[in-house]
């Protein structure tokens, strides 16, 4: 009798664990997809701003490469922040794929969330001075908060 109870308990545990894992993976995928779409939205909004800045910088610099580089610097810095966010998205994609396939969370994912949250902070700082950025700023802020919560206290050690 006790043996059957044990077997049933193990079966129930396995079923619950299986469901929990699948639910966790689904949540991670949903967060990844929102993060990805926020980056794409910011990219789409930033591209025309960059083109305008490029034209203005060319006129202002009048063939002087140093003046041109100085004029475009705030914008290239903004894109650098966006590129870092893109790299964390790629890392997050890889971690989730591996987790989904193997069922083993290597622990990298929490750090990836922390890195993504940091990258979002840097992007929102770069976006702060841009016109028409407020809806994007709100979206970036929301995903940043969610990523930080999923990082669950983990730190981003990449590049440190």
């Amino acid at each position: 009798m006790n043996g059957y109870v044990l077997v049933l308990a193990m079966a129930a545990f396995a079923a619950v664990t299986g469901c929990t894992h699948a639910t966790d993976v689904q949540r991670a995928i949903a967060v990844h997809n929102v993060f990805r779409s926020v980056i794409l939205d910011i990219d789409a909004a930033y591209a025309p701003v960059l083109r305008e800045a490029d034209e203005a910088a060319q006129l202002q610099a009048a063939g002087d490469s140093a003046a041109y580089l100085e004029a475009i610097k705030p914008y290239t810095d903004g894109v650098k922040a966006l590129s870092t966010a893109k790299q964390t998205e790629q890392a997050m994609h890889l971690s989730i794929s591996q987790w989904e396939a193997t069922g083993n969370d290597t622990g990298i994912l929490r750090e990836t969330y922390a890195c993504a949250a940091e990258a979002v902070d840097r992007v929102t700082m770069a976006l702060g001075g841009l016109p028409k950025a407020s809806p994007l700023y709100a979206a970036a802020f929301a995903i940043g908060t969610q990523l930080r919560s999923m990082a669950d206290g983990a730190d981003c050690e990449v590049g440190k």
Binding site: A11, A15, C19
Partner: protein, 64 residues
């Protein structure tokens, strides 16, 4: 005997878990991002800066 029952029970539980999850609409992992439009524009900007610097050098050489 117990080992067989446990193995079968775990396999069954796994199938139940799969069936439960299959009922929910699954969210697919979107493809990782590739080159962003902003990155392409910045690449062009930096190439322009290099061309400007090259033209400056050329002008200096011709001005000798």
């Amino acid at each position: 005997m117990i080992e067989t029952i446990v193995t079968s029970a775990i396999a069954l539980a796994s199938k139940i878990a799969d069936a439960v999850m299959r009922k929910k609409p699954k969210t697919e992992l979107d493809k990782p991002l590739t080159k962003l439009e902003s990155e392409k524009i910045v690449d062009d900007m930096l190439a322009r800066a290099r061309a400007m610097a090259e033209a400056e050098k050329q002008r200096k050489r011709e001005g000798k």
